[in-house]
Amino acid sequence: MAELLSNAAIPAVFLFITVTAFIRGVPVFDTFVEGAREGARTALNILPVMVGILAGVAMLNGSGLIDIMTGLLQKPTEAAGVPREALPLLLIRPFSGSASLGLFAEQIEKVGPDTFLGRALSTIMGSSETVLYTLAVYFGAANVKNTRHAIAASLISSYAGMLAAVFICRII
């Protein structure tokens, strides 16, 4: 049922929008092309933002800084009830989508998907977003230089969700 919903969603949206527009006398294809042209321009405008963000993330990953940070933060986070194995994922998740997905796929094979740890890692991944990348792309597209409290609030929200994930999996 759930799968059907997410598979049928896109075709259903397409059908609904085009048919409604056609009935209401909108020149459907011309309007589509006009919008698509704007979309192409926007996507190309984002490329420089993307190159910058991904290069920064690549340096963090390649240099082994994440591993060092994991080692440093291990003691305090374990005292707070967060398993050591979850720490690398917690650190990398807000910054890199591909790195965190790779790490997750590797770790879940190791710990087993139905163990507490496997479920906690899955919940962390399922309930969080690549904050820095998302914000950079969205604000970059709008040519915003000063994002004010967006990054701070998003990181707070992201870590609240990820820590909640660990504790929820302990209970449920």
Partner: protein
């Protein structure tokens, strides 16, 4: 903010690589990241055209307005300052619906469109408005009904119940979204808009 973060990322990455002797890994990773960015852009280029075009059709047909009217109450609280009947309302509604349904490829283009509408209301200023920050934060909280990618990976890893984590994901996303909304609202006052009344008053005091 991104200026500082970027420099910190570069600096800490390069210094660490010098200390750990992983300079080769870092230079490989930087070059690989450029082609990764181009790949991502090309993948997104098509989706962006498709959804921008479709949104234009939906806008002209009045569908976006109708959707926005449904969500008027919540929006007035979350995004004060958007004029009633402005296309930004509809764009936000479409983008959040795509997030909720987990339509990854559709969600990003729709989110970008909504952000550009909000920027228009803000006079295309280089400084983000409260509504823009709120929209960014809600998007970054990633509320989705079915985390399909994660379920597929769980299945491949041999899980007996891949979807058993869905309720946990919902609760965690909710915690994340509520914390995000609260902290965005709370930080609005702290993070001043340069040139705003609050800042002028403060400068006057100092």
């Amino acid at each position: 903010m991104l200026n500082a973060i970027w420099v910190i990322m570069m600096f800490s990455g390069i210094v660490t690589s010098l200390l750990t002797g992983r300079t080769k890994e870092v230079s490989d990773a930087i070059l690989a990241s450029c082609s990764q960015a181009v790949n991502l852009t090309i993948v997104m280029l098509g989706a962006m055209c498709l959804w921008s075009g479709l949104m234009k059709v939906a806008e002209k047909a009045g569908i976006v307005d109708a959707l926005a009217r449904l969500l008027k109450g919540i929006f007035r609280f979350l995004f004060p300052g958007i004029p009633q009947g402005h296309p930004a309302n509809g764009a936000i509604a479409m983008s959040l619906s795509a997030d909720l349904l987990g339509l990854g490829n559709a969600a990003t283009p729709l989110g970008i469109l909504a952000m550009k509408e909000l920027s228009g209301i803000n006079g295309n200023s280089p400084v983000a408005s409260n509504a823009m920050v709120m929209f960014g934060v809600i998007n970054a909280a990633c509320i989705q009904l079915i985390p399909s990618t994660i379920l597929i990976i769980r299945q491949q890893a041999g899980s007996a119940h891949p979807s058993s984590i869905i309720p946990c994901v919902w609760i965690a996303s909710l915690v994340s979204a509520i914390t995000g909304i609260v902290s965005a609202k709370a930080l609005e006052r702290v993070s001043r808009v340069p040139g705003s009344k609050a800042e002028k008053a403060l400068r006057h005091l100092v």
